[in-house]
Symmetry: C2
Subunit: 309 residues, 2 copies
Amino acid sequence: MAKELVFGHLNPDTDAIVAAIAYSQLQNQLGYETEAVALGEPNDETKFVLDYFDQETPRVIDKIGDQVQAVMLVDHNEAQQSVPDIDTVAVTHVVDHHRIANFKTTSPLFYHAEPVGCTSTILWKMYNENEVQIPQKIAGLMLSAIISDTLLLKSPTTTDDDRQAVQALADVANVDYQDYGLKMLKAGTNIAAKTAEDLIDADAKTFDMGGHNVRIAQVNVVDLAEALERQSEFEDAMKQSSQTNGYDLFLLAITNVLDSDTTMVVTGDNDLQTKVAKAFNHDIENSRLDLPGVVSRKKQIVPPLQQQF
Amino acid sequence: MAKELVFGHLNPDTDAIVAAIAYSQLQNQLGYETEAVALGEPNDETKFVLDYFDQETPRVIDKIGDQVQAVMLVDHNEAQQSVPDIDTVAVTHVVDHHRIANFKTTSPLFYHAEPVGCTSTILWKMYNENEVQIPQKIAGLMLSAIISDTLLLKSPTTTDDDRQAVQALADVANVDYQDYGLKMLKAGTNIAAKTAEDLIDADAKTFDMGGHNVRIAQVNVVDLAEALERQSEFEDAMKQSSQTNGYDLFLLAITNVLDSDTTMVVTGDNDLQTKVAKAFNHDIENSRLDLPGVVSRKKQIVPPLQQQF
């Protein structure tokens, strides 16, 4: 069997990078030859995680090129969230927890998706189903990914499976997940040191919504008011990026991970902005939309928008 | 939780009908409220199976209408192979063994696909993973589906998982699968009593290939020469159906299930016919293409066509 690359989405978050490492390790145990790679540099939170568990950073690639004929995707399936030349290779495996869209294959494949909070939760179940032991380091990485995606089990995307996985993985990794989790989340919210350009691009995904190119970025903070002092700086960067990349609409969700609230900054086409306001049944004032109780892009932001568009 | 319907593809074969019954039974054990239905009447082979294991025929539906808000798909995912108003409901679960195409959701879902010979093989694994016992009757049905899809484990789509599932299910069902399997396959090949219109529609699927509407039907026989005596009758029916339904190309694969050979009858646009000939590297003579060793539409017919288009 020829070697395959395993990777998560562009602008990788902790789950995108960790799930690639964990799935590659599992598949290699099951007889495949795989290498985990990443479609971007790890963010601050992920750097903290990789450092904490002494895990090497995966090689970063920006195209498949001639490297392999076949790949395995984790934590995404939509082509526009993947490597730009994804159409030149066969996708043989997908493990994901998102909706399915803009994804097609010519041949049957292995596809395992569940509506749980984190890809690493599905991988935890797959290790168990295949009776493969999870190494302590990998358990720590997977635990981190679930804490990251579920904001310490507080996001509405959290399921019983995620809670069980966190308990089990914390045991294997031998860490106090509450204490470790808070440190980890805070490590990812240090926005003061970053440029607006970096912040609006660090955890951003592009969606096709009713034929429109919609960019949705998310930034986690521990102080919403402090972050919003930079609103005009963010707006400038979002408009510039939209012009360069052809986005019709750019949304920046600034989420307080401690209080579980979000304020969304909105730039782009006026008609589309009206649709955004309708989708959330809130007025946009000063290019800003308050979304109390909203923390999940996937579960609380994308579906109402998709519905409206 | 509201009730959901579970169903396989249009023009149901044995796996499409049986997998719906087996998945519905599993999901009900796991706490869902589901009903297995079918998108068409069972064919002769499936009738033999349902009769043999004393299983009621599922209710046939031709639209979801106001019946349910959410559905579970088995043995297919492409919209054009599903109920016509599939877009009006949420797909919450898919269990399938085909390529993924023309499928999208607005929310995360449970999707379990594996490149094995039969959906019922995946369901057999899911029963085991969930530690739910398979009732004897359901085991007999699932066994029949695997025999049907793999032509008694002789199709190139057959995997080790299919072989293991057949052994295990034959034990639970308490049948000699070789003896039973031959009887079952023969029950599905009685073409003399059927009109050409029925035969070209009984196991037919529509594919979007490079923007063209391609219809591919398959008929299983035990005597290829006898079947080909009716070639002109088939061609007339295929041309008529193409005109009525807007197919650009209609292919009829007549497969000898005992010898594992196929002869394909080809009607439709001349340029597209040339592409078919190229895809299989064989000339079309007398509207006919011999495909020795070919038995699987999914693995041996669709991929080379998709490649060429």
